[in-house]
């Protein structure tokens, strides 16, 4: 719709974007630590000096210089960030072996500059890398690694020694399940990668790391299955992420907003999950996950509209109830958008559609209410949004007080004070509860509810009709990383219906979603249906 308007008015949206870049951002370049793109020198002191220059005097970076070897003939230095690096590791594996062991044993043979010998014989740490560029060294040092220099070599060793405080793996707060794993992602990207790796133990699972944000240098990791994910989508994800030019990435929401297909749309085209099992299932379907350091919310692309109605638990419980619940979610989605506007439209435009008895009940409730039904509904919606926001932000003990007050205000008091009709309270309550059934779309629903309320209040049932046409036209025109947003419903993919409106039995879901798992269509054998009758066993 918006695109159509743009076309109508000959707006070249690309042109305007380009221009913005030209004019406003020309002074802003990708700087980051790339500015220090300098090779190391052979002299230890030079390297240390240049690093000291970069970090400055007031810094949390520790420079520990020492010499070792039987004659203390080799000068060396360790550089790490206080608090980020685990001191026990440094002491145990480096300081001890260099300063104590090297003087005890035959170490005369070590020549200054023999980095390979040191690497192979002296550092008892599993994970270390060689580095020769200053920018790399800065990045890894600031991520908690310990950098080891010796004199006479233009190579440094980055020793894995992260040891900062993180939150442990806890139950996911947002996607609670009755049955299913309780683990949730944490703020630590390493932990999150481990959580995924523990679920998918195949060499085809690819982790591609990069750093985004000129100031924050946040680690971002793209995870996908090499033999399943659509290479075009993977390439597109990489392209979009690498085009991000921003100073900070503090949460995956930053990435989401910078790489989504339709930034003007109210529909989210990138999914997120806090649960490793949910993320793993998306990867196994061929989706690409984007893990961002510092947040437990992992992005999944491409995202389809129907994903909002799927819950991890659907697949863990048996299909019958799961299908029913899924239908219920669709119903709730519609209720939470259309219930208030239906009340308004029926009671002000189409009273003939209400059963006579109900009409009298409704009219009795409206008797003595000072505002028009639309204003009444609008007031209640605003009240509800206020209460919701207050409840979310407040600390838990205060939040309870808010909900009690809210229940009283919304419920009994508003009615007995004559401010709103009794039936409307039920309608709004139903709307509110329904909107939480589909948490992915809670914000979409909240916006649409108000838009439809205005349309309905002005134009009656025609307003709702017009609104539905516009919203649907917009929604089906959306794409998420090249995949139509409304598949498998529009365009229709018959095979994928089995996991959209209903949830087919697991043994029936032989194929991966058509648009997503293109490389490897079949996920299981054709005859997956369990059949253990006695005759078959004979």
């Amino acid at each position: 719709m918006f695109r159509y308007l743009c076309k109508l008015f000959n707006v070249k949206s690309n042109g305007s974007k380009e221009k913005n870049v030209d004019n406003n951002n020309s002074s802003y370049e990708k700087q980051g630590n790339k500015a220090y793109d300098v090779k190391l020198s052979n002299a230890l002191q030079d390297n240390i000096n240049s690093l000291k220059d970069i970090f400055g005097k007031e810094t949390d970076v520790v420079f520990r210089e020492f010499s070792f070897g039987s004659n203390k003939q080799i000068k060396a230095a360790l550089i790490y960030v206080e608090g980020l690096a685990e001191k026990a590791i440094i002491n145990e594996t480096m300081m001890k072996s260099f300063m104590y062991d090297s003087s005890m044993t035959e170490m005369k043979s070590i020549k200054p500059g023999d980095m390979n010998y040191i690497k192979e014989n002296m550092i008892s740490v599993a994970n270390l890398r060689e580095m020769s560029e200053l920018s790399e060294i800065i990045d890894s040092c600031l991520s908690g690694e310990t950098i080891f220099f010796i004199d006479g070599v233009n190579i440094a060793l980055a020793i894995h020694s992260e040891g900062f405080e993180t939150r442990g793996v806890e139950e996911a707060k947002t996607e609670a399940v009755v049955r299913g794993p309780r683990e949730g992602f944490t703020e630590n990207i390493q932990t999150n990668m481990v959580l995924l790796r523990r679920r998918i133990k195949t060499p085809n699972l690819v982790f591609e790391s990069m750093r985004i944000g000129t100031q924050t240098r946040t680690s971002v990791c793209i995870v996908y299955l090499r033999n399943v994910a659509n290479p075009k989508i993977v390439a597109e994800v990489k392209k979009r992420i690498s085009s991000i030019n921003i100073d900070s990435i503090l949460e995956s929401g930053y990435i989401e907003q910078l790489i989504e297909d339709e930034p003007n749309s109210i529909f989210p085209t990138i999914g997120n999950s806090e649960k490793p099992d949910a993320a793993a299932s998306k990867i196994l379907e061929g989706r690409v996950c984007i893990i961002v350091d510092g947040t437990p919310f992992v992005l999944t692309v491409p995202m389809l509209f129907i994903e909002g109605f799927q819950s991890a638990e659907d697949y863990y419980s048996r299909p019958y109830l799961a299908s029913m619940i899924r239908l219920l979610r669709y119903l709730c989605f519609y209720i939470s958008i259309f219930a208030p506007v239906s009340y308004v439209v029926l009671s002000t435009f189409h009273q003939e559609l209400i059963p006579t008895t109900l009409l009298f009940t409704m009219a009795a409730g409206r008797e003595g209410v000072p505002f028009p039904a639309a204003v009444e509904a609008g007031l209640m919606i605003i009240t509800f949004e206020i209460l919701r926001e207050a409840g979310v932000r407040l600390p838990r003990p205060v939040g309870q007080a808010v909900s009690i007050v809210g229940a009283l205000v919304i419920g009994e008091a508003a009615v007995s004070a004559g401010l709103v009709g009794g039936l409307l309270v039920i309608v709004i309550a139903l709307t509110a509860v329904s909107s939480f059934v589909v948490p992915t779309y809670t914000d979409v629903v909240s916006i649409l509810r108000v838009v439809f309320l205005i349309l309905g209040a002005v134009l009656g049932i025609f307003g709702i009709g017009i609104g539905v046409i516009v919203v649907l036209a917009h929604a089906v025109s959306l794409k998420s990383f090249g995949v139509p947003y409304f598949t498998p419903l529009a365009p229709l993919v018959k095979d994928d219906i089995k996991d959209s409106v209903i949830r087919a039995p697991l043994w029936k879901m032989n194929k991966r979603p058509r648009w997503i798992g293109v490389l490897n269509v079949f996920r299981q054998g054709e005859d997956a249906k369990p059949d253990f009758n006695e005759e078959d066993n004979d």
């Binding site: 009671s347 002000t348 009273q351 009409l359 009219a363």
Partner: protein, 394 residues
């Protein structure tokens, strides 16, 4: 330069969106009416004295009241009746809005009652309003009142409902007991539009109960010739009409017991009536074929009826009883020269050639039609008990 152009375009879009939203306001919530500004009509009564110019329209408007659970029952009056005169229905309604402060809303009207005097003068011009108006429904029931129609709407309902709604339910209930034809505007008008068929409408009257309160009571059927009422069918004749026109669904009939003096009640579980026309040598014969099944509902005799022989006997008595009812109705129809069974239409449908021959002289031909009723009833079940409690034999 390029910047200016895009700014202009953006401005254009913003202007368009603003215009769209502002244009929404122009409609100003057109045709919207708040519920508390609506007078919901649940019943209408039309009265017209003999040779009078004006008709009196009584509208019953339900007053919505919140039900308070602990207060007494039926203490508050839940409706207002407003009476106004006018030359036509719409004029009378216009006059009503001079005294009533809400917009009259017809969509929930349950019933329109015509006074009998008016029915004899013809109601064709009055029903036009109810058919034409966008709000009124063709499924609104029609009644003819014995006495002033407005009194019917005034009577004390025996439930807590408005009299109009009570009447609507009363008529709806007739469907299950099958004693009187139930007629809405759609039925009435279809028959009115037919060349031959006569509309029928149930008659309602006020009957005093033991507390000296007037309660509505449906007893008879009014027979119309075109839009003018010509006469009445009594209880038994109405039933005969229902049998002939396939309107019996459920209901009970009371027949004599096989032994003679006592009674047996039969509850009808399935019934079907069909008219088969036959023309022989210019003589039109209408075969009314009725199939019915029923269970024994009660018996006043002490004899054991639970045997095929008794069933057979009851069935035969039943057959004669129903045939008699149908013939009574036919006799009345003949007397009024009113085609209440729809013989004309049946002939037109099944014997078009014969129909063309007699179409012009239908009025004279109609009373000459021979009507035969072929009734086939079956008694199927005895109910919960077989022999009566006071059965003395073995």
């Amino acid at each position: 330069m390029r910047l200016d152009k895009s700014m202009k375009n953006r401005k254009k879009i913003v202007e368009l969106v603003i215009c769209l939203f502002l244009s929404l306001n122009l409609t100003a919530c057109w045709s919207s009416v708040e519920l508390n500004k609506l007078g919901i009509i649940v019943g209408v009564a039309l009265d017209k004295k003999e040779k009078a110019d004006d008709i009196t329209v009584t509208t019953q408007i339900g007053v919505p009241t919140l039900e308070k659970s602990n207060t007494g029952i039926g203490s508050s009056k839940q409706f207002v009746n407003i009476k106004e005169k006018g030359k036509t229905v719409s004029e009378a309604l216009k006059n009503i809005s001079r005294e009533y402060n809400r917009l009259l809303f017809f969509a929930h009207n349950q019933v329109v009652i015509f006074d009998k005097t008016m029915a004899y003068q013809g109601i064709g011009s009055e029903i036009d309003f109810f058919l034409r108006n966008r709000e009124t429904r063709p499924l609104t029931w029609i009644l003819i009142s014995n006495g002033d129609a407005s009194d019917i709407l005034n009577m004390n309902p025996n439930s807590r409902e408005e009299p109009g709604i009570n009447l609507g339910k009363l008529i709806k209930n007739e469907e299950y007991v099958s004693q009187l034809p139930i007629v809405n505007f759609k039925d009435f008008t279809t028959k009115l539009m037919s060349k031959t068929t006569s509309p029928v409408v149930p008659i309602i009257e006020l009957k005093a109960n033991e507390k000296k309160e007037k309660i509505p009571y449906m007893l008879k059927t009014a027979v119309f010739k075109k839009d003018k009422m010509v006469g009445e069918l009594n209880e038994s004749e109405s039933m005969g009409l229902l049998w002939g026109t396939n309107k019996v669904e459920y209901g009970t009939i009371l027949v004599k017991s096989p032994s003679g003096n006592e009674k047996v009640g039969v509850k009808i579980t399935r019934a079907k009536g069909k008219i088969k026309p036959e023309v022989k040598d210019g003589v039109i014969c209408m075969n009314i074929i009725i199939d019915a099944e029923g269970d024994i509902l009660e018996q006043t005799t002490a004899e054991d009826l639970a045997n095929p022989k008794s069933f057979k006997a009851i069935e035969e008595i039943e057959n004669a009883y129903i045939e008699n009812q149908v013939m009574q109705a036919w006799d009345k129809a003949k007397a009024f020269n009113a085609d209440i069974f729809g013989f004309g239409d049946t002939l037109y449908k099944f014997k078009p050639k014969e129909w063309k021959k007699i179409e012009s002289k239908w009025e004279e031909e109609f009373p000459k039609i021979t009507v035969k009723a072929k009734v086939d009833t079956k008694v199927r079940r005895m109910g919960k008990i077989t022999k009566p409690a006071n059965f003395q034999g073995k």
